[in-house]
Symmetry: C2
Subunit: 514 residues, 2 copies
C-alpha cells in the first residue's frame, strides 16, 4: 500500500528498520519484526518492521539508513508491502536445532548479516546457538571465507606476506610497534592492521596514533607498504570483514565469542597474509588460563590457517602480568619507542624478538631469533619504525619525551612491604581506564614493581597519569579500593585465594581481541 | 556528565533506549548496549545506550518511554552516567552455559525483563539458551510464579474458579463461545481471558468482539462475572503476565517457544483459576502432531498446575481439519451463535460438550458430559451467552444473521470429484488471512466439505468472504494455488506425500497459542 515517508533524522546503528503504526501494520498483515519491502521510484529496500502504537497512520517512519538508500527527503509517497523472511532465518533455525550448516547456508547467513537483513534478535539467537552447540572446523572455514567474500581485500603483488596477531588480554602489550619494524627491516612485507580498544585501556591503533595517523585507506596502505615494507594502521574502517563488526555488536553484551577464529583469520586472509604468528598470552590473569587451553586454541588456528591457505604458528606467552611498565596509549607509545631505541623493559623486547624470530623461521630465515635480536639492537628496526611513521604522516624524528603524557600524576603506595606475588591484569586495566585511557590518550598507569620485585613499606606500586584532576582522583580511589598488586613476605601467608558464598559470575571484560 | 536532552518523539516499542554520539559515549566509557543512568531532578532511569555516529555531541537522545518517565520536554540538562549491567545478565550467561537457574535468579531475570532492563539481544540469547538446553520443572515453576508476581491479578472471592485453554493450531476453533456459557449456566465461575490472533485468522477475542466489547478492565470483569458467573474478554491489556508480552516479541521472529508452559499457566494463576482444562488439538496439520507428543505436553501441564495449586486435566482433541465450517471473526461468531441456538456443526458442539463435561467432572459434578449436553440443548447456555453479551455491553438479542459478514464472495471449486482425504489447516488459514481476516472482521472462509465427505467435479470446496474485491481476488488466487483440500476417489492413488530435494525448513506459522 502507499504510505507517506516520514524521516526520523537519526540512524539506527546501521540497522534497516522502518516504523509503522499498529493499524497500518495490521492492514499490511505485518507484525513487529516481520519484513517489509519499501519501494520508491526505481529503488527498493527490505526493512524490519517496528510496530509503534503512537505513530501516525498511513505513514512509514524511516531511519537515515533507509531514507538515504532510497533517496527520500520526507513526505514522498512510497509503496510498502509485506516481504518474505530472509532465507538465512531457516539456517539460523537449523543451527538452533543443533544442525551442522553447509557452506552455501553459511554464505547466505553472512550475506544477510552484511546487508542487514537479520534483526538483532535473530543475530543474537544465531550467536548463542553457535556458542552452545559449537562449530565444526568446516563451519569455521565456511564462515571465514564468507566473511572475506563480503568484505574488502588488500592486494599486494608481493610474496610472502607476514602478519602477527595477539588475542589480547594483558594490558600494556605494545609488541607490534617493535615487531613490524623488525620484520620490515629484514625486507619482508608486513601490512599490519590493528584494532582500537573496546574495553581495554589501549589498542594498538590507539598506541600508534600518538606517533602518526592510523586511519588510512587501502590505497594509502599500499603506498606506505611500497615505501617501507610495513605499516601499522587501524583496520576498523577498512571493511575487511564487515560481518564481524555486526557479529561483535551482539557478542559484546553477551560476552560470548563463538566467532573468534573466523573473525581473526578472515581479516588475515583479507590482507593477503601467507605466514601468521598468533600470540596467545596465557596465565591466570589472561583470557586463556592454562597451557592446555592455549594448545587447543592454537591447533584450531593452525588448522584453520591451513584450510585458508596460510601458514600459522602460535606463540604461547607469559600472561600473568602486564607487559612492560606502561599502560595507556601515549605512555605505551613512549615505552615502545624507548625500547626500539635500546632502552625500555626487558620483557617487551624479549617478546618482540621471540615473535619476530618465529616469523623469520617460518619464511626459512636461519637463526630467526638471532636475526630479530640483531635488527633490534643494531638500530635498524628503529630506523624502519621512523620510516613507517613518516610514510603514515607522522614526525620521523620523534623522541620518547616528545610524546606527551598526562600532566596530572598520582602515586599508589603500599602500607606494607614485600615481594610482588601477583598483579591483577584486569584491575590494573580498570585503573588506567578510570584515569581516562583510551579516549584521553595521555592517561594511563605506569607500574613501579613487577612480579618478584621487592617493594618497601610506603613504596610506590604504580603511578597514575591523567589529563584531568577529577579523573586522576577517581582512578587513585579505585586503585586504593582494588589492590591490584599483591605483596607478601612469605607466600604461604596467603593461601586462601577466594571464598565462594554464592554464585558470583564475573562478567568477562571482553571476548578475545580481534 | 551533563548532557542536553533531545526528544526523539517516537517510541522504542517499550524499550528503554538512549542515543549518544560516539565521542560522548567514549567520554562516558560507554559502548553500544552498555547501560547508562539518566537523572533529571528527582527522577532517574536506566537505559540501554545506542551509540550513533551522526548524533550531535553532548546530547542524549531520548525515546518517548524515557522522556515521559523523566518528565522531560526537550532541551533540559540531564545527568548521564555509565551504569552497571543488570544482575540478570549473570543468570542469562549461566543459562547460556547450561546451568540450572534458581528461583531467586529467575525472579531477577523476570523483574529485569518487565522493567525493560534487558536488551533484545540479551532476551533473544536467553530464549535461545532456554530452548536449546531445555527447562527443568523447577525452572518452569519459578518462571510461572515470577510472571504472576510481576503482573496484575484478578481476585474473585469465589471458589472454585474454572478455566479452559486451547494451545491452538486449528482454524475455526470457536469452542470457548459455547463452553463459557455452559459452565456459567451451571452456576460455576469462569472468568475467561483470550488473545487476539497474531498469525491465525481469528483469536477468541477477535471472534467475541463481533458480539460485544472485549476490552474490559479488571474492575469491569469483576462486575460482569458477578452478574453472570462468566466473561469472555481480551487478556492483552490486563497485564496479567507482562513479561510474557516481552518474551513473545523475541520468540515470534525465531519461531521457538520455550516459555510456553509458564506463559499459559501464569495467566491462569493470575486470574485465580483452581480447575483448568487444556485442549491440545492433535494431528498432522496441528501444532502437536502425535498422541505421544500430546501426552508429554499434557503431563507437563498437569505437573505444573499441581505445583502452582491448580487442578489441570488435558483434552487431546482431533486436529486434522478446521473446527466447524467457518473461519474468520464474524463468520465464526455467527457459527458459534447458531450452534448454541441448536444449529451449527456437530464437531463444534461435540467438542464444547466434551471439554465442559471434563470441567464439570473435575469439580465433582456427576455425569458431567451429560450435564453439559443438557445445558446446551435446553437453551440455558444460549440464555447465559446473551446475558454475558449484555453485561459486556453488546446486544443480547443478536441473531446469527445480524452478524455482518463480507459482502464480496467467491467460491473455490474443484476440477475433479472425490472424497475429502485431507484438509490443510495452515493453507486454509492463509486463504482466510489473505481475504482480510482477522483485521477485516467480516472476511474469512467457509468450508463446504470436510473430511470424508464427497464433492462432485466442479463442486465448491470453500467460499471466501471479503470486505474488499482486491482481497477477495488475491485470496481466491491463493486458494487456487495452494490446493488446501485434497480429494481422491481412491486413497491409494495418492501414496506420495512429499519429495525432499534439499533442506526446506518451513517456518512455523506460530508458536502455540497462549
Amino acid at each position: 500500500m502507499k504510505l507517506k515517508a516520514r524521516l526520523l533524522e537519526i540512524q539506527a546503528g546501521g540497522r534497516s528498520i522502518a516504523i509503522l503504526d499498529d493499524e497500518t501494520a495490521s492492514f499490511l498483515g505485518v507484525h513487529s519484526s516481520d519484513r517489509v519491502r519499501i519501494a520508491y521510484e526505481k529503488q527498493q529496500v527490505i526493512a524490519i518492521a517496528n510496530v509503534a502504537s503512537n505513530f501516525p497512520r498511513n505513514y512509514v517512519g524511516l531511519y537515515e539508513e533507509i531514507s538515504r538508500k532510497l533517496g527520500i527527503k520526507g513526505g514522498e509517497s512510497v509503496e510498502v508491502q509485506s516481504a518474505e523472511v530472509p532465507e538465512a532465518i531457516r539456517y539460523v533455525q537449523a543451527k538452533i536445532r543443533g544442525e551442522r550448516l553447509r557452506e552455501k547456508e553459511i554464505d547466505t547467513i553472512v550475506k544477510d548479516v552484511v546487508t542487514r537483513h537479520l534483526s538483532d534478535v535473530e543475530l543474537a539467537s544465531f550467536i548463542t546457538a553457535l556458542y552452545i552447540h559449537g562449530l565444526s572446523m568446516d563451519e569455521i572455514e565456511a564462515l571465514s571465507r564468507a566473511m572475506v567474500k563480503t568484505g574488502s581485500t588488500l592486494s599486494l603483488d608481493k610474496r610472502p606476506i607476514l602478519d602477527k596477531h595477539s588475542i589480547g588480554g594483558i594490558p600494556g602489550d605494545k609488541t607490534t610497534i617493535l615487531i613490524v619494524p623488525i620484520i620490515a627491516a629484514a625486507g619482508f612485507t608486513i601490512p599490519k592492521t590493528s584494532s582500537r580498544a573496546v574495553t581495554s585501556p589501549a589498542g594498538t591503533a590507539d598506541r600508534v596514533e600518538t606517533l602518526c595517523p592510523v586511519n588510512l585507506t587501502i590505497e594509502e596502505i599500499k603506498e606506505v607498504v611500497k615505501k617501507t615494507n610495513g605499516c601499522m594502521v587501524w583496520g576498523g574502517a577498512l571493511e575487511l570483514a564487515p560481518a564481524d563488526d555486526i557479529f561483535i555488536q551482539v557478542e559484546y553484551p553477551l560476552a560470548i565469542d563463538p566467532m573468534l577464529l573466523p573473525s581473526i583469520m578472515s581479516k588475515k586472509k583479507a590482507i593477503g597474509a601467507t605466514h601468521v604468528v598468533v600470540d596467545i598470552p596465557t596465565g591466570r590473569g589472561a583470557k586463556i588460563k592454562t597451557i592446555g587451553e592455549a594448545h587447543t586454541l592454537a591447533y584450531d588456528f593452525i588448522d584453520l590457517g591451513k584450510r585458508l591457505g596460510m601458514k600459522v604458528q602460535c606463540a604461547v606467552t607469559f600472561g600473568e602480568q602486564p607487559l612492560g611498565w606502561a599502560i595507556g596509549p601515549a605512555l605505551e607509545a613512549r615505552e615502545a619507542l624507548s625500547a626500539i631505541m635500546g632502552n625500555g623493559p626487558a620483557d617487551l623486547k624479549e617478546k618482540a624478538i621471540d615473535v619476530a624470530g618465529i616469523l623469520f623461521e617460518m619464511v626459512d630465515v636461519e637463526n630467526g631469533r638471532q636475526k630479530a635480536e640483531r635488527l633490534l639492537e643494531s638500530g635498524k628496526a628503529e630506523r624502519k619504525l621512523r620510516k613507517i611513521i613518516e610514510a603514515q604522516g607522522g614526525n620521523p624524528k620523534v623522541k620518547p619525551q616528545d610524546i606527551e603524557v598526562g600532566d596530572k600524576k598520582a602515586e599508589l603506595t603500599t602500607d606494607r612491604g614485600g615481594r610482588v606475588l601477583w598483579i591483577n591484569n584486569e584491575d590494573t586495566a580498570k585503573i588506567a581506564r578510570e584515569a581516562g585511557a583510551p579516549k584521553e590518550k595521555r592517561a594511563g598507569v605506569v607500574l613501579k614493581a613487577k612480579l618478584g620485585e621487592n617493594v618497601k613499606k610506603g613504596g610506590v606500586l604504580l603511578e597514575i597519569y591523567a589529563e584531568r584532576n577529577a579523573k586522576l582522583e577517581t582512578a587513585l580511589k579505585l586503585g586504593e579500593k582494588l589492590h591490584p598488586i599483591g605483596l607478601t613476605e612469605k607466600p604461604e601467608e596467603r593461601m586462601l585465594m577466594d571464598r565462594i558464598p554464592t554464585r558470583v559470575i564475573e562478567r568477562k571484560t571482553f571476548v578475545l581481541e580481534r
